[in-house]
């Protein structure tokens, strides 16, 4: 892929053009290790903006990595992933994160990404979902409703995605809240950093179009809450179905 000149935004920051910073070999290796299976590519638009909303788990964050790379590999589109503000703490982390297509959890940034007709990946469970203790695996925590105004204001279709297998590949023993006030997030206590070879499955569900709603509706908190819960229910339902159908997690 030819290298493009680095584009800069109004703050003078370099913007990610492609994700080829880490060689694709690493993705293929991990995808093979997890026997990654993907379904529902037809649900993601080939062109134009879309919001992919997925469940988050496994403390280390392999799911965000795999999801981003898989989308890049199959659709040749670079997804922009909303990440925890921790990744934008100082200059070094900031430039590092932006090179991987991450952007901070901020409504303006999100709107900007959609305005540029990008694919935006959001994990509305956030750190709470990522660092949840393994005893409550596959029970989605409450979604942060921030993605709902994003989708409606930009008229972007929402594609819910269910990631199955990530929970068992890294076991999280505890969630430590002691430093929450200082660093702004809980700390996980994972059992293993090198993931177990669990079979992974990523399923993209049917896109939801909010075309008939407008900015006026977002002002009603009940409206935002119910859309949020509806999407959470879709993902949870798909996960429950998949878990019921599989008999062995390594197969």
């Amino acid at each position: 892929m030819p290298k493009k000149a680095a584009e800069r935004n109004e703050f003078g920051e370099k913007l990610a053009h492609d994700l080829r910073v880490i060689p694709e070999v690493l993705h293929n290796l991990l995808a093979g290790y997890f026997r990654l299976e993907t379904h529902g590519w037809e649900n993601i638009p080939k062109k134009g903006k879309a919001l992919i909303v997925a469940n988050h788990s496994n403390a280390v964050g392999y799911d965000a990595f795999i999801l981003g790379y898989t989308i890049h590999k199959f659709l040749r589109r670079v997804p922009r992933t909303m990440a925890h503000n921790f990744w934008f703490g100082d200059e070094f982390r900031n430039s590092f994160a932006r090179r991987y297509g991450l952007f901070p959890a901020d409504l303006k940034e999100g709107l900007n990404q959609l305005k540029k007709n990008n694919l935006v990946v959001i994990f509305p469970e956030g750190a709470e979902g990522n660092f949840k203790v393994s005893s409550s695996m596959y029970k989605l925590v409450d979604f942060n409703p921030g993605f709902v105004p994003l989708a409606i204001m930009q008229r972007a279709p929402v594609v819910p995605a269910a990631i199955i297998g990530a929970e068992e590949s890294v076991y999280n023993l505890a969630k430590i809240d002691w430093f929450k006030d200082i660093i702004g997030s809980s700390i996980p206590l994972p059992l293993n950093i090198i993931p177990f070879p669990v079979k992974w499955k990523i399923k993209f569900l049917k896109p939801i179009d909010f075309g008939k709603y407008s900015k006026k509706d977002i002002k009603d908190p009940r409206f935002v809450k119910e859309i949020n819960q509806n999407i959470r229910y879709r993902i949870q339902h798909e996960i429950n179905k998949e878990i019921k159908d599989r008999d062995l997690i390594f197969k």
Partner: protein, 156 residues
């Protein structure tokens, strides 16, 4: 032991009666059915009018699937942002994506009905004999049957 004897005897009687009761004795022979080409509105009306939780759906005269009120509500909820679930325009065929049909024979035991309900969560089970629908057994029928046995055991 002698004091407990009548209690044990009653218990024994209840257990053997349950064992000997067949699905055919308990099932509801008046089956309410719908066809896959029927509209969603028909299904919703059938469910609420008859106060039932599930209805057997036929395709070309043969049992095809069981539609529960939960499934209807589930799909309506998922499609709440679109107009795909128009009750007066959508046939049942569109609602049933992967038909799952667990059924029993009239000679099966009540235990097998209970097991099926718990394992698969299908609360309305068609009873089929020689590929013909002869009855239906629901969770309520099962509870009624156990209740009847309980009363009979008390009055003995």
């Amino acid at each position: 032991m002698s004091v407990l004897d009548p209690v044990l005897e009653k218990l024994h009687w209840r257990l053997t009666t349950i064992r000997n009761t067949r699905v055919g004795d308990v099932m509801n022979k008046k089956v309410i059915t719908l066809d896959v080409s029927d509209l969603l509105a028909t299904a919703a009306r059938t469910l609420v009018e008859n106060r039932i939780n599930g209805v057997v759906i036929l395709k070309e005269g043969k049992p095809y699937a069981v539609l529960s009120s939960w499934e209807l509500l589930h799909q309506s909820y998922l499609e709440s942002f679109s107009d795909k679930m128009d009750y007066l325009r959508t046939p049942l065929e569109q609602l049933i994506e992967s038909p799952k049909l667990h059924f029993l024979k009239p000679t099966d035991s009540l235990d097998s009905a209970a097991r099926l309900i718990i394992q698969h969560g299908q609360r309305t089970i068609p009873v089929i004999e020689n590929e013909q629908l002869v009855g239906v057994i629901s969770k309520t029928d099962l509870i009624k049957a156990y209740h009847k046995l309980l009363i009979e055991a008390e009055s003995r």
